[in-house]
Symmetry: D2
Subunit: 339 residues, 4 copies
Amino acid sequence: MLIVMEKTATPEQIDQVVKVIEGLGCMARPIPGGDRVSIGVLNNKGPVDPALFLGLPGVKEAVPITKPYKLVSRETKAEDTLIRVGEITIGSGYLTIIAGPCAIESDGQAMTIAEHVKKAGAHLFRGGAFKPRTSPYSFQGLGEAGLKILAKVRENTGLPVVTEVMDFQTFDLVEHYADVVQIGTRNMQNFSLLKRAGESYRPILLKRGMAATIDEWLMAAEYIMAQGNHQVILCERGVRTFVHHSRNTLDLSAVPVVKKESHLPIVVDPSHAAGRRDQVLPLSRAAVAANAHGLMVEVHHQPEKALSDGAQSLYPEQFDLLCQQVMAIFNVCGREDSL
Amino acid sequence: MLIVMEKTATPEQIDQVVKVIEGLGCMARPIPGGDRVSIGVLNNKGPVDPALFLGLPGVKEAVPITKPYKLVSRETKAEDTLIRVGEITIGSGYLTIIAGPCAIESDGQAMTIAEHVKKAGAHLFRGGAFKPRTSPYSFQGLGEAGLKILAKVRENTGLPVVTEVMDFQTFDLVEHYADVVQIGTRNMQNFSLLKRAGESYRPILLKRGMAATIDEWLMAAEYIMAQGNHQVILCERGVRTFVHHSRNTLDLSAVPVVKKESHLPIVVDPSHAAGRRDQVLPLSRAAVAANAHGLMVEVHHQPEKALSDGAQSLYPEQFDLLCQQVMAIFNVCGREDSL
Amino acid sequence: MLIVMEKTATPEQIDQVVKVIEGLGCMARPIPGGDRVSIGVLNNKGPVDPALFLGLPGVKEAVPITKPYKLVSRETKAEDTLIRVGEITIGSGYLTIIAGPCAIESDGQAMTIAEHVKKAGAHLFRGGAFKPRTSPYSFQGLGEAGLKILAKVRENTGLPVVTEVMDFQTFDLVEHYADVVQIGTRNMQNFSLLKRAGESYRPILLKRGMAATIDEWLMAAEYIMAQGNHQVILCERGVRTFVHHSRNTLDLSAVPVVKKESHLPIVVDPSHAAGRRDQVLPLSRAAVAANAHGLMVEVHHQPEKALSDGAQSLYPEQFDLLCQQVMAIFNVCGREDSL
Amino acid sequence: MLIVMEKTATPEQIDQVVKVIEGLGCMARPIPGGDRVSIGVLNNKGPVDPALFLGLPGVKEAVPITKPYKLVSRETKAEDTLIRVGEITIGSGYLTIIAGPCAIESDGQAMTIAEHVKKAGAHLFRGGAFKPRTSPYSFQGLGEAGLKILAKVRENTGLPVVTEVMDFQTFDLVEHYADVVQIGTRNMQNFSLLKRAGESYRPILLKRGMAATIDEWLMAAEYIMAQGNHQVILCERGVRTFVHHSRNTLDLSAVPVVKKESHLPIVVDPSHAAGRRDQVLPLSRAAVAANAHGLMVEVHHQPEKALSDGAQSLYPEQFDLLCQQVMAIFNVCGREDSL
């Protein structure tokens, strides 16, 4: 933290800031400048709250210098984290494709799609049993029946399954059936849920919040890791901006930034970013070209009848093309992971 | 819903759209235009998912016409909802001031602040016992001990208390102690929590999500009302934008829009919008001048020692000035609520 | 500027940064911290480009400390700038109301509206002769004929007039007829136009760009002042965000921030922020309550026939109410300008 | 345009809307729905302003249906526009790489970089002679001397040159020296400049505004085309969002959307999107994988000494790698341009 004083700050005001710093058990180091004084805060154990200084008389700005996260940071653990799910590895050097419908609707629907995506090259199957829906009147998912269908899909196809958990109450259940437990965008800062996820024996796929900075997202992962679960997969899915030609704006800069700041794997969900089928293929290729460690894509054999998110679900043959194209890109430039 | 077809759409493509509409139990009404056909969707009971049409061949756009919410809508209930908390009324014709520290830190801290804000004119006392914090290493609140302090404050001052609930597990507890239960920004779309709030016997203060549209916010209120709890107070607290001279950007247009669309009361939290003490007073005056039904303001007698959000907490004497000024504005133009 | 080094930065990398700083004629002051080194840049005359450091090996961040503007800054000139236009004063202690149609359409239209707004209490008349329109096929304004109508309005009513200039070619003409020359949102960073405005003998009303930070906006004013014209009025008119219930999101925090950073007056345009008539009145009241120095409001006696922006133009009787309400608020809390 | 009436709209209010529509020379077609009436506007020649209806009593919404642009639209011209610059073709089926320094600083600097980027595979050379800078105190470009250096670079290397024009006054000059004239982000809605560009005999590279929707961007291109110059190249360069880990957020969805809506070529500028060197390579690969028709990249042999934008300029050897990787991606999936 660096405290920048007003040009007109008095020695008394500077002293008061020094005292507040020392009161926090830190060291204060005033830095006289050309026309104003700044004060460095040293030896802080964790992050210091800028708020403590911003309101003091004579203080112009409080600039955080060190990042607030620890366990997720590459400064704490330099080597990439690889996450094993059955025989699949997620992380540096791999391209993992997760595919399936938005929601599990029936035995037949799930199996039809699962068989198709497996043949096309997907490594994990996704499908929602508990669905967070904007409207209380929309289809809310099959619940436990959906989880049982997922288990059957896994048994029949060998594909590990990813599914979302929405609350503490159903966490045990979801954890029992899922191979990877997903925490959705709207729950990225549901801290109680993050703490429970931190006690889970399953890897957690943590989606970025709709308006979350990377710092906030990594701090959400920190919540999980701080409870002991170090198996976290980050998932970029677009952020909310003024743009309305896509549902969200896919932020591909997040891929190199997360890779620089953290050792955790990062995958990209182009389906929720786009919200429209015709943008999913170009965004998928772009994500792999940006060296994401994987993709999570929605596929449906009858999207016009899907109970949710039909507009962004690929037709099976589009998914075939996607797999071919992204594997080709990965072979060309993804393996070495050179930024 | 209006389905707009491409200029080049074939009769077969138009037929397919009509069939999908009829498959939903709705009526399709094609409208031949100058150079393209549009198709109206009539007799839909609830909102129809545009996604079902967006991916169909020949479809250019799917434009929702009716709003997705029902119970919150002024079209369902024309007269303003008034919410009673003890002897306080929140809603049209009243200006309710909720004030207190960000977090309850101790008996002494809470009582000192409560006595001050009461004298200055506050109607309810606020203070967090369970605190959602970006970092797992920050102060997380006193928990039940904090709730007990709130109860004592109410007993001593007569002020009803507002406090945040973070999860299902502690809902019973919070509901027991609080007069108004707050659902925070990060939980605005924690649908499990909203459903539990819908079963509560307490009024719910529902903060707007950091990047929520008004539709999404009203749909979150709809979740609560759909479970039977019709006592919902909406709270605008700023949205995330590119702007960084304030923590969030206070969206005061939300006040007239919510009042037009819904019968529910709406209050404004200038403290979290600003994130800096020196913007709280002008934003408070602005919110009341925009005819918000109330304010929720953070006050601390020693903000430089506050365990959270000190930078945005007003000094007690600033809060005195705030109360005087907003009451004067309310007297001048707020009472009649003329838009 | 503070250069924050990586934890792993080598002494050689630190040396290189020091050399770059010294190469700029500045002083480098390394600050050893707990676990990383930071390097202060001192004695810089103007702003230093962070870009020069961001790409150097071992550099983690470059944090600007001092603001890039000079002439607009309150640190350069502490007392408020007051701008005289005829007998009107704009700035601290005054509430100036500028009103009129979006575009000048005809003699009769302009005079009808001007007489009305004068009677209601407006101090200046606004109206566009050269109109920046998103579409080349929309009405582009009457050009010089419009300017002549403005001159006639001034002659008949005594109201000074504000009108927009769009380019260098017509600057002389606009400057000749206008009392205050407006530079619009889309031209806020049209630097050639700003330089020309800097040579004008007229006060300039400079609207904030649709996505401009306050720093960028003040730097645009700095362009004008650097050429010698110190009569700049800033105009907040909403910024573009994800929100779509208003055309833009009015950023009222800008008022206290600009007042703190700069000595220039700041007015608010609620009409372009809202884009809808029914939000103009509450936003106007809010702006005055936030202590803006004035308002610029669109009024039309037949908005449904207006050639541009009819939807946001107030009916004359709505403007009457607006004037009464904002004057009442100004009397209650605006005069002393207490933040 | 579809006018949606309130549920409570009276027959008189509906009649009034019909009259306004007919007053515009259009046909009104009321569509009775389940619980409200909508009114279609047919036979409109150009776009109709929703503003004309939004303020009328009984009107709930006015929904534009047809797009406002004509000449840029794929509905007007189905086949892709190819633009020839010397022996280079820009558009569908080609990957065009434009590279060079942000600003022309000297003969030696320009030639050193130009020779390098030519060898690496660039097709055009870029470099600014007139520089739009946020601060009036920053380096503003060499002006005509810079243009002469560009001409020399072209002569020596055979590379056509792209350079920015900032105003009407210098347009003739820039047009004389440049092979492609660039209009920058901040001038995207400088309509006078667009009109002048529409009279130019040079192809125009039109950058997207920092907060422009695709509609606004295409309308800016429409301004140019409406004056007779049909050679427009669109350039996506990132938009302003709440994200601050990159200078802007690259919006790659714009690529498929523009290709669908328009026949004009679209290239991507990853340097200004990122603002940091270490994101340029992944974003470049991503842009080509999303099937952009080209890239515009900043390269400098001594970025730490660059007079502007050094932090985002690639070192020459990074640009070599970029060319290899994007050509490989283009060969894999770009040639067929399959969305």
